[in-house]
Symmetry: C2
Subunit: 284 residues, 2 copies
């Protein structure tokens, strides 16, 4: 009998990222008070940690309301990993201007953040730090860490990172679009028992077509329509074989425990190259 | 009568990018021997140049075989610009290791490139420059420029950029996936007369749904199927209003000059919030 993998959470680090926040939220929902959190340098390594049983759970961003799907996550689900989605968590994204505790706006010579942090606060930077050069760093947490140690650097990230690294939040809610959100998936090893309950379920699928065949997507949507299953989301991704060759990610309402979902998936299995069930989990 | 905009090409600079290569390819197809090329710092500014009549043409990447759609381009088409697609060009992407003319591999202390250049040559870097730190720069052309002036920096980009900046191509075809391609669109101001001819046409559309309505995508695909129109591509993008709220980019075979295309689009106009025709242009 092999040892159970420790009930730790692998997430895209460093400490203080939005991934870190999401991992703590999942731990709370699982009733784990003092979760063991394992920083990973890339999303692929979060998947590897879970697939190899090094961590029981992984937390990966799947989609941002402004930027769209997180393609590195989708590619891992489609082409690399056998992990199962156990749950989802939607995080409100509020960027803060983060500064050294003793710095004022006049001290700022550079604004450092993740490219998306900079892009999502363009209007604020233009109005308040006009002409100040921006530099990209690997994460919003890194930008908080740099701001905490250098008066001439302002960062953009969440207030959690600012606190963690001992920096000051000079202003909150500096994002251009109000209402920005990121959706995260809790993943476990293939076959992991469900850990979250709910009244409504969702099932995520990766569908691989037979060599480019006209009408395939229409057929897929018709199967779900006939079964009375609502689509939550559909997203195409290149298969990386040739330009214009796609596979589809589809989220449907319902669980693989439901008879109508089973029937629709069995019909699709007869016609498609592969139907990969990424997981059935409660809608948040 | 206003002056005609100069027949210049706006592209995502600096000189030596893959955009630059694509702009030259379009100019050649238009029979322009010595094209005036205008560098822009962002894709949005390429669109602005065209929309404001500062340049007659713009060149924007639409999709890469590995990375998928270029979201900044799609968002400009959907939400900002009224430009028309006049043509497409598919460029084979072959990355080179670019070095100072007098440097050898032993001199290299850093590998600098655009994040996609680095990501697409990961295996080569691991096998040949293992442990050498990588830094990201704004473009593959920038990486060639840096390599040309610093023996300790190796860049990753096209041989065109290496030549342009006086650097040396140390190795060609260093990309992990052979057969990588990027598709570019030639854009002109709304209503621009067609400039390229061909036997087969393609039409690009941006479709905006009425507030989230189940079955909308099935209805869209059914309209095209009934009209006997093949779909080339479909891509969803967030509307940036709320997580899970999408619009669709659809490429279909045929031209808006074709009766069956006109009928299908008129049917869709009766049901959707907006049908934006991005252009009809010859298939390359």
């Amino acid at each position: 009998m092999t040892a159970e993998p420790p009930s730790a959470f692998a997430y895209l680090g460093p400490a203080g990222t939005y991934h870190d926040e999401a991992a703590r939220a999942f731990a709370k929902r699982l009733g784990i008070d003092d979760p063991q959190l394992i920083e990973c340098p890339s999303l692929s390594e979060v998947f590897d940690c879970v697939d190899r049983g090094k961590c029981e759970y992984g937390v990966v961003a799947t989609e941002n309301a402004l930027e769209g799907p997180v393609t590195a996550t989708l590619d891992n689900f489609a082409f690399r990993s056998s992990a199962t989605i156990l749950g989802e968590h939607v995080l409100d994204i509020h960027h803060c201007l983060i500064m050294h505790p003793e710095a004022t706006l006049n001290d700022v010579k550079t604004v450092a953040s993740h490219p998306q942090g900079l892009a999502q606060c363009r209007r604020y930077l233009n109005d308040n730090l006009h002409g100040i050069p921006t530099v990209t760093v690997a994460s919003t947490a890194d930008s908080a860490r740099r701001a905490a140690s250098d008066k001439s650097v302002a960062g953009i990230g969440n207030d959690f990172a600012a606190q963690l690294y001992g920096a000051r939040v000079a202003e909150t809610g500096i994002e251009d679009h109000f209402g920005n959100q990121t959706s995260f998936a809790l993943i476990g090893r293939q076959g992991h028992v469900p850990v979250l309950t709910g009244s409504k379920f969702k099932t995520s699928l990766a569908l691989f077509l037979q060599a480019d065949r006209p009408g395939a997507l229409l057929m897929i949507l018709s199967e779900f329509a006939y079964a009375g299953i609502n689509l939550v989301k559909i997203q195409s991704r290149p298969t990386k074989q040739a330009l214009g060759d796609y596979m589809f990610f589809v989220d449907i309402e319902g669980s693989t425990q439901d008879l109508e979902v089973q029937t629709a998936l069995n019909c699709l299995r007869l016609k498609l190259r592969e139907v990969k069930v990424l997981g059935s989990y409660p809608v948040e």
